[in-house]
Symmetry: D3
Subunit: 184 residues, 6 copies
Amino acid sequence: MECIYLNNRNYDGSQISSLWAYNVAGVQDDSIIYFRGTCNVEISHMIDLEDKRENEAIYSSDMIHFIIEHFDSTKLKLVYSRQRLFASIVSEILIDKGFNIKREGDDLFINNKKLSVSIASTSAVSQKIHFGINVIHDYYADLKSIGFEECKIEQLMYEIAESYVNELDDIEKDLRKSKPLDVI
Amino acid sequence: MECIYLNNRNYDGSQISSLWAYNVAGVQDDSIIYFRGTCNVEISHMIDLEDKRENEAIYSSDMIHFIIEHFDSTKLKLVYSRQRLFASIVSEILIDKGFNIKREGDDLFINNKKLSVSIASTSAVSQKIHFGINVIHDYYADLKSIGFEECKIEQLMYEIAESYVNELDDIEKDLRKSKPLDVI
Amino acid sequence: MECIYLNNRNYDGSQISSLWAYNVAGVQDDSIIYFRGTCNVEISHMIDLEDKRENEAIYSSDMIHFIIEHFDSTKLKLVYSRQRLFASIVSEILIDKGFNIKREGDDLFINNKKLSVSIASTSAVSQKIHFGINVIHDYYADLKSIGFEECKIEQLMYEIAESYVNELDDIEKDLRKSKPLDVI
Amino acid sequence: MECIYLNNRNYDGSQISSLWAYNVAGVQDDSIIYFRGTCNVEISHMIDLEDKRENEAIYSSDMIHFIIEHFDSTKLKLVYSRQRLFASIVSEILIDKGFNIKREGDDLFINNKKLSVSIASTSAVSQKIHFGINVIHDYYADLKSIGFEECKIEQLMYEIAESYVNELDDIEKDLRKSKPLDVI
Amino acid sequence: MECIYLNNRNYDGSQISSLWAYNVAGVQDDSIIYFRGTCNVEISHMIDLEDKRENEAIYSSDMIHFIIEHFDSTKLKLVYSRQRLFASIVSEILIDKGFNIKREGDDLFINNKKLSVSIASTSAVSQKIHFGINVIHDYYADLKSIGFEECKIEQLMYEIAESYVNELDDIEKDLRKSKPLDVI
Amino acid sequence: MECIYLNNRNYDGSQISSLWAYNVAGVQDDSIIYFRGTCNVEISHMIDLEDKRENEAIYSSDMIHFIIEHFDSTKLKLVYSRQRLFASIVSEILIDKGFNIKREGDDLFINNKKLSVSIASTSAVSQKIHFGINVIHDYYADLKSIGFEECKIEQLMYEIAESYVNELDDIEKDLRKSKPLDVI
């Protein structure tokens, strides 16, 4: 699984499309690509029908973004489990740095304010996850307000991406040393 | 998904077999069954070949146990993702109660000592996860040593089991409101 | 699995789209939704290429409609088996009420005239089945002509929908108590 | 899919094993094999844990048996749907001959007495279904008691087996002419 | 699996769509359809994003074409393995006729010049493969230049198509006589 | 995918078990392991029921062996396609070295004598392939008799194993740059 940083990117919802990584970076492996930029999802790119129904704007002027793509399965249950696992990893890293994060499903909260947005889905060729964390936001929680230092943001992005890669590697290794189960 | 408490049970490794829940409790749904008792896994019930190779004893005189069974898939990748998610949930609950837990893959640590054991695998009919947390242990970390009160253990078991059920419900709901992805 | 009655609906083919149930009724479970109304499928909504090739009009002025959605698999073989099973259930209920129904595949006949229309398919997120039964039709068989009483139609719809839900529940229970097979 | 009649066979539960058809008849295709003989399932061959728990004898001195094997999938949900569909087909054929059959799940009843036994499951290589219908039985319903003529039994077996083959062919054809679904 | 020859066809990329065989020839089985004609793929029909990125023209004035469709799975890994196997079969047949072919992945070469084009992918309903071999080409390798006789081309097409059908039949038979594996 | 050479091994059929590579070499990746030694498969390790039925001895005093394990799927159709592809790769390499090999399914022939043995199957945790090529054999074809030099055998083993790894890598890359198909 490749772990790639991109400069000067914003998130407008098109990045959730399958094969985006191949298209922008020639990536032909499972990947997690991260970048920092605005978030402004047009209705036509909305995957979550709840957001669409409620006509909810998904906007942030400064976010760190993670775009994950897996080609090993197109099962919705697996991509959503991985999305929750990703949210847990982010939460664990921030808790470890002393921030009082709560995770609920795919959302992170701090002081009851939402810090993140996330979506996951599949096409016929791959699974994709988008996970965005507010760096600056007027209304929702953001890293700046809770005292996260600007100079440590790039390191944070790298740490999160690497942890996810390691988690997935660890799973792959585990499943290659376990026997199938008996049935009573 | 059913959430069931059993009295007077120990874990000897046979509980990881598929259909054990049906056999002991007539359960015909996906389930999480929890109980408190010893842990003493015979070599013949060991699923993890690493433990087998290293002839590692899996023994604890007092543990809380969670036995999860899912019938919706027999994919190893999914059961291992769910196992990690379960470990995250336990970690989050204990952190929330003020304990300084670290999760690494499917293991929980406190002060660099291992607090838990876990295994996951599949048969042709179901996925199973066992997750055990030491209440009392001479060598490894345990809930007693870190000051977890005896009277709160039953509540803890319930809370963990319920949280997993809720997490899975939440995933099921999410995947029923998301559009499939475009491909670039 | 939810079982839902909707008022004042017609079938124009858009109801076969995945996530329609979420969109019109906020349903986030597997579901069978039933309603009574006209049937008028535009060419652009036709799923069956045979109908499309033969430019066959699918029209009825009064039909009872069942729209089934499953999220547990996107396999075509499974959704078509379920569609046939649904047709069998309808047939059994009508036979039990004294009507001389024959089933052939997904079609019901009475006196060699077709009583029903049905289609099934999958998207990347769900399986869907549409099954419609003529209440009044000039050319094909219909419930009125064979003497089915108007006042019993609502009950019939409910009975069919409930029977399908029970059949699926029964299957889920069965597969949770059966051992995998030996191989000779 | 092959349709094969075997002479002089009894059912003792070993016929439910995967690859039995290859072993006894060199069959290398999906198949339905039928024969007439006793039914006497040893506990060790019992697939249904409910029967095992209740120590229920599965015995009949004269039955017609159908053994179905599919290699296209090893999903439990699919084999159980096919089993129900098979039960429906048997029911339809007997109703068509004037017998007042009721189907409940995978069981057939006449005058509230059980006429049939059935089991379905999967191994890592195939799906299997056994369906047996009593010809003579002291306690349960049987074909003789309801007046089914001895001379027509062989024809009945053939008719049932052929109908299942046709049903499956029809499904295969249908799924090769239907477009995938849109998502709202 | 059906093996069908079509007259007077060209390849413009639309033939790679799922259900094309049903649409043009009413085929409701897995199939390999072959024809001889030009190859001129419009950008909008390009499946391979690499070709698209490089804006590579896929043009040939005279090619033999094979269009394969399978409905038994929609897994990318399987369709790509089958595509490579098809390329091997073509290579073996040409080598057997005395031509010095090299295969690299899904491409055939002769004297380091590319003789063939191929693409494979899946939709929600089927797997498809296109494989084209130049008969006449100004720039790439072609059958004419290497001395393949015009009068033998129709026979070659037939031989290739039949060999693929036989290969797949042989695989199906093999998997119906092999036991599942033990686990150490 | 790891490519590993082992010294001083013979093949007795136990190597086809899932997780053998982990057990003997601690391998936790997909792998191709090759070694040179005798071949002597006991009846109890026979996977192919045809061999078992015909009580066919699978014996060779000197063979090169390839043991492949994949954890990405447990589908029989995929492992058999990969097995055929492996046979093609071996055939291509030997043809390229000037030997007149014919492949039929998973068998290689030279002068109408069988040069190789192969088996493939799956467990609940992995796919496995065994492919053995006679170096010396009294009855069947072997590398020595056709003039293959002893000093080049180690190189041949390496070349075959590497080619398979490259073929699989190439497939993985291809499926990560191709769009899903339209449906007509």
